[in-house]
């Protein structure tokens, strides 16, 4: 975590801040969702409590805290209470592995009578050179919180909903895994930061052995992999049980699926897990297909650095990191809005249509995308 006290504390604070960012996202997104749904059905969303209904979030939080604490009689108490806590872990671990901006390099400085050496703080919780495999491994643990919730509440509808939800999650994990193969073929690396640096330059690709560079167009992944982007987005909708894939929670006889018996703050923790997964999904979309924290001609690390050239070295690099962080957050918020937007436009799938879509359409499409990408890259990159 770092070799001296200052670095360790900064790294720890960084992780905690990213976790709290995810936790704070829930009330914000719930508010956005209720307002947007109201706007789409041309009625007013929550606007009684405070300006534009913003303090509705506080009212909800208080309501969640003071709800009656309840656990079903013959259920397994430990699993019933453990399931919401387990729901938080996968989303946080995945979110901390994704770089939100360029690293900050801090020159050595004098403080409290001790010179603290030069540091490089990465704008993420931790950096693994097997970034993609780590995120896939951690997000595959999400099925356990559903299963434990279903088993812990000893309610046969909850159990049935949990089984359906986890069957859906794992079958769409296949399509997600395959659409990542297309990206790997293109960038040939697992680590996120190398993918982002590869996308921050001008559009340059091999054309029958020669390299062609198009000056003004950014080198984003969406240009090479449009089908992969659509597949990853659809798989992410199913992964987070969002509409139009939220069947396990919303069927007539399933009441509310695996969190039927939950109420109050425990239900809220499931929402934190779900919105956390949505944040990870939009962050992955932005990192793979929309160039991470850079927009080539205007907002690349060196052009933004030039804006703050007259400040000192450290402050300049901090400012550029935060400007690019704002760019990244803007892109992520667009995709979060896309999640909310789709929720109130598309109808829900039937369960067999949902599983057929996962196995019989998305998996073959992802395979086709992988094969076509491999063949095209082979033709383009070998020196004929």
């Amino acid at each position: 975590m770092g070799n001296d006290v200052f670095e360790i504390t900064v790294n720890f604070i960084k992780m905690v801040v990213i976790f709290l960012m995810m936790v704070q996202l829930v009330p914000l997104l719930v508010w956005v969702e209720r307002r947007a749904c109201a706007y789409m059905q041309n009625r007013f969303g929550p606007n009684r409590v405070g300006p534009l209904g913003l303090t509705q979030l506080l009212a909800d939080a208080v309501k969640f805290i003071t709800k009656e604490e309840f656990a079903p009689g013959n259920g397994n108490k430990f699993m019933f209470y453990a399931a919401p806590v387990i729901a938080l872990i996968p989303a946080t671990l995945a979110l901390n592995a994704i770089p939100l901006s360029i690293p900050i390099n801090v020159a050595s400085f004098e403080w409290l009578g001790h010179t603290w050496g030069p540091y490089i703080f990465k704008f993420q919780g931790y950096d693994f050179n097997i970034g993609i495999v780590f995120v896939l491994a951690v997000s595959s643990l999400a099925a356990y919180s559903l299963l434990l919730a279903g088993y812990g509440s000893a309610n046969k509808f909850a159990m049935y909903g949990a089984l359906r939800a986890s069957a859906q999650t794992i079958s769409y994990e296949l399509a997600m895994g395959l659409s990542l193969v297309g990206i790997l073929l293109l960038f040939n690396t697992f680590s996120f930061s190398e993918i982002v640096t590869a996308q921050s330059g001008p559009l340059s690709f091999y054309f029958f052995g020669k390299v062609i560079t198009v000056a003004s167009v950014p080198n984003w992944g969406i240009i090479y992999q449009p089908v992969g982007a659509v597949l990853l987005m659809a798989a992410m909708f199913a992964e987070t049980n969002r509409l139009p894939f939220d069947l396990p929670e919303a069927e007539g006889e399933l009441v509310a699926g695996y969190h039927t018996e939950y109420g109050g703050i425990k239900m809220n923790m499931f929402y934190i897990g779900e919105y956390g997964h949505m944040l990870v999904a939009s962050a992955l979309m932005v990192i793979f297909y929309f160039g991470g924290c850079t927009i080539y001609p205007w907002l690349t690390p060196d052009t933004v650095n030039a804006w703050f050239a007259n400040y000192g070295g450290t402050t300049a690099s901090i400012l550029t990191a935060f400007v690019l962080f704002a760019v990244m957050m803007a892109k992520i918020l667009f995709f979060l809005w896309f999640f909310v937007w789709v929720r109130w436009t598309l109808p829900r799938f039937r369960y067999d249509q949902l599983m057929d879509l996962g196995w019989k359409t998305m998996l073959p499409w992802a395979l086709g995308n992988t094969i076509v990408t491999a063949v095209v890259i082979f033709i383009m990159r070998t020196k004929w």
């Binding site: 009656e68 309840f70 009689g73 259920g75 046969k156 019989k360 094969i371």
Partner: protein
């Protein structure tokens, strides 16, 4: 080892955070009477006739098994995709594409057979 310490520290922090939230909610929640009807599992008001989980269609396990098998085939593709550029630049492009082509052929045939044999049919 030092690379994994942040992951352990973060997961411990999240678990402690979750437990603290549940304790806080437990303390300041209004204490309702634990009547027997309230403790029964929620079935929209109908008195639940069986106790605990009952007959649930078993066809979920087939999806889970097929998921494992196809997941492993996808994981075999990750090292291929990782070193695809190196193989092409070192002139072995046709070799790696051919070998992976056979593997993908087997994968596609397996998937095609699963679809055709209606193993994944949900009535």
């Amino acid at each position: 080892m030092s690379q994994l310490v942040p992951v352990f520290v973060l997961s411990i922090f999240v678990v402690v955070f979750g437990i603290i939230i549940e304790i806080v909610a437990n303390i300041c929640s209004t204490a309702g009477k634990k009547t027997s009807t309230k403790l029964e599992s929620y079935e929209c008001g109908l008195p639940s006739d069986q106790s605990g989980p009952t007959r649930i269609p078993i066809k979920f396990y087939l999806t889970a098994i097929l998921f494992i098998l196809f997941d492993i085939e996808i994981i075999f593709m990750y090292p291929w995709a990782l070193t695809y550029g190196d193989f092409i630049s070192s002139g072995l492009g046709a070799y790696i594409l051919g070998s992976m082509g056979f593997f993908l052929l087997v994968f596609i045939f397996g998937l095609f057979w699963e679809v055709k044999s209606k193993a994944l049919e949900w009535e």
